[in-house]
């Protein structure tokens, strides 16, 4: 989508044009969903977060000044909301552990099953599941940068615009993410052998 269409769409959205909103959703829904899915690793939750992203866009389009591309803005909201969701889930799990210590009945926190991304080639399914397991353990920013780069194919410059960081910072984060993933995978294989 080029800048003119972006501008046109933004103007129409600001005027409350329902057709423009539908067009926006149809154009970007898979992009937003795929980003959320990469970070959350749960299909239903990712769809929920993707919808929340569009709700926020609908409610706050008036504040969008058009300095960045619409897609950049959407990526930014999606990443923030997906990371918030993961944090919330972790908090829930921690409280569930605390409650279980006091013997209070809580929903049982089942160990997360392997996540299989629907877009991954069949030959790579098992390996990708191992990679996603390791990805879960990365710090937020490294996780977001890795997902945007690997699953959405964004170059460092564009990721920088999404994350509001310099290209060099993004490259550094990507480098650290790869190193940390390798270390986690080595640890995984060491534990497998024991």
């Amino acid at each position: 989508m080029n800048r003119f269409t972006d501008q046109h769409l933004t103007e129409a959205l600001k005027q409350g044009d329902a057709t423009a909103f539908k067009e926006l959703v149809e154009t970007f829904r898979d992009m937003v969903y795929n980003t959320a899915l990469g970070i959350i690793q749960h299909e239903a939750d990712a769809e929920d977060v993707a919808q929340e992203v569009f709700v926020q866009v609908y409610q706050s389009i008036g504040t969008f000044r058009g300095e960045a591309k619409l897609s950049t803005w959407l990526y930014r909201i999606a990443v923030t909301k997906a990371l918030d969701h993961v944090k919330k889930q972790h908090r829930k799990k921690r409280w569930a552990v605390v409650y279980s210590l006091f013997g209070e009945q809580q929903e049982t926190v089942a160990a997360a099953a392997d996540f299989h991304h629907p877009g991954v080639l069949l030959d790579n399914k098992e390996r990708a599941a191992v990679l996603f397991k390791a990805l879960e353990q990365l710090p937020d920013r490294q996780k977001a940068v890795f997902v945007l780069h690997k699953l959405e194919g964004l170059p460092a410059k564009e990721i920088g615009e999404v994350m509001q960081m310099s290209q060099a910072t993004i490259e550094g984060l990507l480098h650290r993410a790869r190193n940390n993933l390798r270390k986690l995978l080595e640890k995984y294989y060491r534990n497998e052998q024991e």
């Binding site: 829904r29 969903y33 990679l131």
Partner: protein, 111 residues
């Protein structure tokens, strides 16, 4: 697993997302989104009336109003009872000249 094989496997895992396609959101994504938007955009007034109409809130509110009314009524009755007693006694005493004459009342008359 040999060290070399392990390293190769790790590299293969690192490349496992290469060429992955985009995951697609469900078929009725927009319909569900519209429903969510309608729920969210219900006006503040609708939300307030909805909250008030909840049985727990409505009953508590009603009980509070009744309690306040009872307190006010009891206080008013007490105040009225005190006031009427005094007034009626005074009126009765004046009617039948039952006031207790004082020393000053007598001196006024003699002068």
């Amino acid at each position: 697993m040999k060290k070399k094989d392990k390293q190769q496997e790790i590299e293969a895992i690192m490349r496992s997302l290469d060429g992955a396609g985009r995951a697609s959101a469900g078929d009725f994504f927009f319909t569900r989104l519209q429903t969510r938007l309608q729920q969210k955009s219900s006006s503040a007034w609708e939300r307030a009336t909805g909250w008030i109409a909840r049985p727990a809130v409505a009953i508590t509110g009603l009980l509070l109003i009744l309690l306040l009314n009872s307190i006010i009524v009891v206080r008013q009755v007490e105040k009225l009872a005190d006031g009427t007693d005094q007034a009626s006694l005074q009126a009765f005493a004046e009617e039948y000249r039952l006031e207790v004459p004082t020393f000053y009342d007598n001196t006024d008359k003699t002068e």
